[in-house]
């Protein structure tokens, strides 16, 4: 199988993720779309690692997973606090600052 296909898949996932961030309204879903983008980048790293014949890309993928886990901790903490004070996780409702 042509290895370039993995890059197309990664680009596709990244595009779906970034469109999702712009279009979706629930902050949890927006956050999941961001995670999808990070995983698309991971897939690209691993594919390039295979193409280049060294392991650096796979190491990066591990680091990305750790960083993404930290991001989940911080992000969910923020989203949950917002939900508790407004009873809504919609990013449209959080618009006090634009006035």
């Amino acid at each position: 199988m042509n290895i370039a296909n993995y890059l197309y898949l990664s680009a596709l996932l990244f595009t779906i993720g970034s469109i999702g961030v712009v279009l979706r309204r629930n902050s949890i879903v927006v956050f999941m779309c961001i995670e999808l983008m990070l995983n698309a980048a991971n897939l690209a790293f691993v594919t390039f690692s295979r193409i280049n014949g060294n392991l650096d890309g796979q190491v990066v993928a591990f680091f990305t997973m750790v960083v993404a886990a930290c991001e989940v901790v911080v992000g969910l903490a923020i989203i949950v606090t917002i939900f508790r004070s407004r009873r809504s996780a919609s990013v449209d409702d959080a618009s006090l600052l634009n006035r």
Binding site: S10, F14, G17, S18, V21, S27, V30, F31, I34, M37, L38, A40, A41, A44, F45, T47, F48, S49, I51, N52, G53, N54, D56, G57, V59, V60, F63, T64, V67, C70, E71, V74, G75, A77, I78, I79, T81, I82, R84, S85, R86, V91, A94, S95, L96, L97, N98
Partner: protein, 504 residues
């Protein structure tokens, strides 16, 4: 025979000290008595920053530059930037520790009984100190990272604490939480772009080290499309952090919603760190293909300068106005990145320092203007401030003049250095737009000054808080630096010139 890789702990020691302070701070949160924590935490953070500054001084003329097996390059420019970040961090820490503007218990629902109880008990969320230390360490690492992994990890290490700090304001909780959410979602979005770009740069070079990527880019082997994808996506991630247009949307909201002393830190230190990384990446990695990115970055610099200055005029809130002015300033510094020569680098270093210190002073002064409900950031209520407190209003006016780039202020010298560096390289269009938008910016700065000194005050509800010793030191030192560097710029210009060296 395996040789142990040399780690160069001495060169890394400033960052290691700050990281250690952060970890010790987290442990102190868990084990020590709540009543003494604010003092202990402040002591740990300030002590670590002072120690790290001493270490910076000790390594400033070190001959070796590569550390942590090539993942980190401690060259002259890095040492200068790290020193600047530490000084800004120290002064911001004085502002942060002084004000009662942090929430007593971040997890309590705004307006609930739980929140009132914790506020009346006088408890305080002392986690701000370790968070600030983590952010500082991440920023320092970001300026010296020379491989993609370190760069990405450093980006997140300094961003994540800032997302949390933005949401910890005691008053206007909902605004503050909203600022944290926006900052977090957009920040994570941009770091995903950064990572995707990094993947393609790794793809063309087969290495995560910036040196190898640079030679792959200049050698032209590999795939040109991949180089461009990598360049564009990495730039998006970095331009977001310096809030260049069109990646600026978060800036006004976050600056307004975050506690003012955190905004001061964020505005000053994040810019220094992010520009440190941008300068390194464009000077070290992408300088061979400058012809390809210069037009794009020129356009972004022009739009950023003009947009920031134009929109600032319409603002009715001081913090939002300073946010748009910081966007315009990002455009000015981008002009120095475009120069791609030693005078451009030196100008950028000078501008970052002076802008950082003046911003810190300006936000520090905003924390002092209050009424019964807390800080007053509505510009209309600032009318007649000059009569109430000529000293405070006068200092604020002076800082605004420095932002505008009026001669005899440090802002003028910085702008002059940047524009002359850009002019040297023949970037006339950018210089013209830069000067025009400076004039535009001067208009709204002077409008604020007129408002403070000439307009009649409509209500007497606002008062000026008597600053404590810590605030006085922070605001006084930063304002004094703006004056002194305006009158005697060569004091700092000589330093930036001798420190403007990037090593691959």
């Amino acid at each position: 025979m395996l040789t142990t890789p040399s780690f160069e702990y001495l060169l890394l020691s400033p960052m290691l000290i700050i990281l250690a302070a952060a970890v010790i701070g987290v442990l102190a949160e868990a084990f020590l008595d709540r009543n003494h924590l604010p003092v202990i935490q402040l002591f740990i953070s300030v002590g670590a920053i002072l120690l790290a500054l001493i270490q910076i001084y000790r390594i400033k003329s070190s001959s070796s530059t590569s550390a942590a097996i090539g993942s980190v390059v401690i060259d002259k420019a890095t040492i200068y930037l790290q020193g600047t970040i530490l000084i800004i961090g120290l002064l911001a820490l004085l502002l942060i520790s002084d004000q009662e503007q942090f929430v007593a218990q971040a997890s309590a629902i705004p307006g609930s009984r739980e929140e009132q109880e914790s506020t009346s008990k006088g408890s305080i969320q002392t986690e701000i100190y370790p968070l600030l230390s983590f952010a500082l360490a991440g920023m320092m690492l970001f300026t010296c990272a020379s491989d993609l992994i370190t760069l990405f990890v450093a980006l997140e290490v300094f961003s994540l604490p800032l997302y949390l700090l933005a949401g910890l304001s005691r008053r206007r909780r909902l605004l503050s939480q909203e600022a944290a959410l926006k900052y977090f979602l957009l920040g994570a979005y941009s770091s995903a772009f950064f990572l995707f770009g990094a993947a393609f740069l790794y793809g063309i070079s087969g290495s995560v080290y910036l040196v190898d990527i640079s030679s792959a880019v200049s050698g032209g082997y590999g795939n040109d499309v991949f180089v461009l994808i990598g360049l564009i996506f990495i730039s998006v991630g970095l331009l977001f952090k310096i809030s260049a247009v069109p990646f600026h949307a978060w800036t006004p909201d976050v600056y307004q919603g975050a506690p003012t002393s955190v905004t001061a830190f964020m505005a000053a230190a994040t810019k220094v760190a992010a520009f440190g990384a941008i300068l390194r990446i464009f000077y070290v990695v992408f300088s061979p293909i400058a012809n390809q990115w210069r037009p794009i970055i020129s356009v972004i610099a022009i739009i950023t300068m003009v947009f920031g200055s134009a929109v600032a005029i319409a603002q009715r809130d001081v913090k939002r106005m300073l946010a748009y002015s910081s966007i315009a300033h990002a455009g000015f510094i981008l002009t120095a990145v475009l120069a791609l020569n030693k005078s451009g680098l030196s100008a950028a270093l000078f501008y970052l320092t002076t802008y950082g210190l003046s911003t810190l002073a300006a936000f520090g002064i905003i924390t002092l203007i209050r009424d019964a409900t807390g800080e007053v950031t509505d510009l209309n209520k600032w009318a007649g401030l000059g009569k109430k407190s000529p000293l405070i209003a006068g200092s604020f006016a002076f800082l605004l003049l420095s932002f505008a780039g009026i001669p005899l202020t440090s802002g003028f010298i910085g702008k002059f250095a940047i524009f002359s560096a850009a002019y040297e390289t023949g970037n006339i269009a950018v210089v013209v737009f830069g000067v025009l938008s400076s004039a535009l910016a001067a208009f709204f700065y002077i409008r604020v000054i007129l408002l403070m000194f000439v307009a009649q005050s409509q209500n007497d509800s606002i008062s000026i808080a008597i600053p404590s010793v810590k605030s006085r030191i922070a605001i006084g030192a930063t304002t004094a630096a703006t004056v002194i560097l305006g009158l005697f710029p060569s004091l700092l210009l000589n330093i930036t010139q001798s420190f403007s060296i990037f090593i691959k």
